[in-house]
Symmetry: C2
C-alpha cells in the first residue's frame, strides 16, 4: 500500500495570490465596462486598457454540487468621482449563494435583492460576507490599494448580467474626500 | 435615502476565531467517538471528557443554494499511536462538495470516495482543499498545536456518518516519531 499524498494549492492570506497553476484568469478593463459608470464622458476619456479587476480561480471540477474558489483583485481608481467596482451580477441559478472573504484593501460589498432591497458591507482583511441566494453583488474599491477578496461559490451558479441591465440603485462616489453613497436618479 | 451599512463578521486568519456571535458551536469529546480509534483499550483508558475538536459556524441562512461557513479546531493528541482526528463523513447529499482552507497547525486531510479511492493532502496555513462531491473527508492533527481549518459547504449537504461505519481504510499513526499511514486490516 502506497499512500497517495497530493500537494494542494495554497493561497497567501495577505495578497490573495495562489501558489500554482492551473489557474483560470479573467481580466476586465475599462473598455469592457460600457455603461457601468455614471460618468460616460469620464469613461470615454479614460484609458480603455486600464485594468479594473482580475479574477483568478482554481481550475477544479465543475458540475452539480461542486464548489469553485477564486480571488478578485479590484484595482484602486475612479471614473469621474465613482470608485472602481466590479460589474456585479445575480447568479443565473438565482438560489445560489456565495461567500466572500476580504483579504486586503478597503472597500464595500453592495448587495441588492430582487425586490431592490440593498445594503453595504465594509470589506477589509478578515471580513466574512455571506451572500444569500437571489442577491446581486458588486465589489467597490474605496481605498488606495488593491482590494482582494476570496470567494467560494457553486460551480453551477453562473452569472446573469442582463437582469442588472438597469444597474444597481446605489452608486458609491468620492465627494469632499469622503466616501458617499448616492441613489441613482431615474427618468 | 439612508444607506444601510451592515458590519459583517470577521475571521482571524491566524487562529480561525470569529469576531462575534451568533455562532453555532459543537464540541466533540473522546466519549463521543466510540469505535473511531483503532486502539479500543487506549480509548477506554483516556479521559472521556477530553475535547478532540470544536466546530464553530456562522448562524446564517439555510436552504437550497445557501452556503455555510465554519471553522474546525482539532486538538493535538493521540489515542494509542493514532493521531486525533475528526469523525469524518460523506455528505447526505452525496454530490455536494466542500472547500477547506488550512489556517494554523499541521495535519492531513484524508479523502476517500465511494469506490474506496483515497488520497491525503497536507493541511497547513494557506492550503486550499477542494473536496469534490461523493467524497468522504476527515481531518487529522499530526502536529503539536491546534489544527484549524475554515470550511465552506452547502447548507443542504448534511452528514452521513453511517455510510462510513466501516471507517476509512487508512489510519494515520506515529511510529518512531514519524507520521505513518497504515492500511486497515480487515477480517
Amino acid at each position: 500500500m502506497k499512500p497517495v499524498l497530493s500537494q494542494p494549492p495554497h493561497v497567501d492570506w495577505l495578497t490573495g495570490a495562489f501558489s500554482r497553476t492551473p489557474l483560470l484568469r479573467k481580466t476586465t478593463r475599462l473598455a469592457d465596462l460600457p455603461g457601468v459608470f455614471a460618468d460616460h464622458s469620464g469613461w470615454q476619456q479614460a484609458d480603455p486598457q486600464q485594468i479594473v479587476y482580475d479574477v483568478e480561480m482554481l481550475d477544479t471540477l465543475s458540475g452539480s454540487g461542486e464548489l469553485f474558489t477564486g480571488v478578485t483583485h479590484l484595482y484602486p481608481g475612479k471614473v469621474g468621482n465613482e470608485y472602481f467596482m466590479t460589474r456585479g451580477h445575480f447568479h443565473a441559478l438565482r438560489e445560489q449563494g456565495e461567500v466572500y472573504f476580504g483579504l486586503r484593501g478597503t472597500g464595500l460589498l453592495l448587495l441588492q435583492d430582487e425586490q431592490g432591497e440593498m445594503h453595504l458591507e465594509p470589506v477589509v482583511a478578515g471580513s466574512v460576507h455571506i451572500i444569500p441566494g437571489y442577491t446581486a453583488h458588486r465589489l467597490i474599491n474605496t481605498g488606495t490599494e488593491i482590494l482582494s477578496a476570496l470567494a467560494v461559490w457553486s460551480s453551477t451558479a453562473g452569472h446573469d448580467y442582463a437582469a442588472l441591465a438597469g444597474g444597481f440603485a446605489w452608486r458609491v462616489v468620492e465627494e469632499n474626500r469622503q466616501v458617499q453613497v448616492r441613489e441613482v436618479q431615474n427618468g
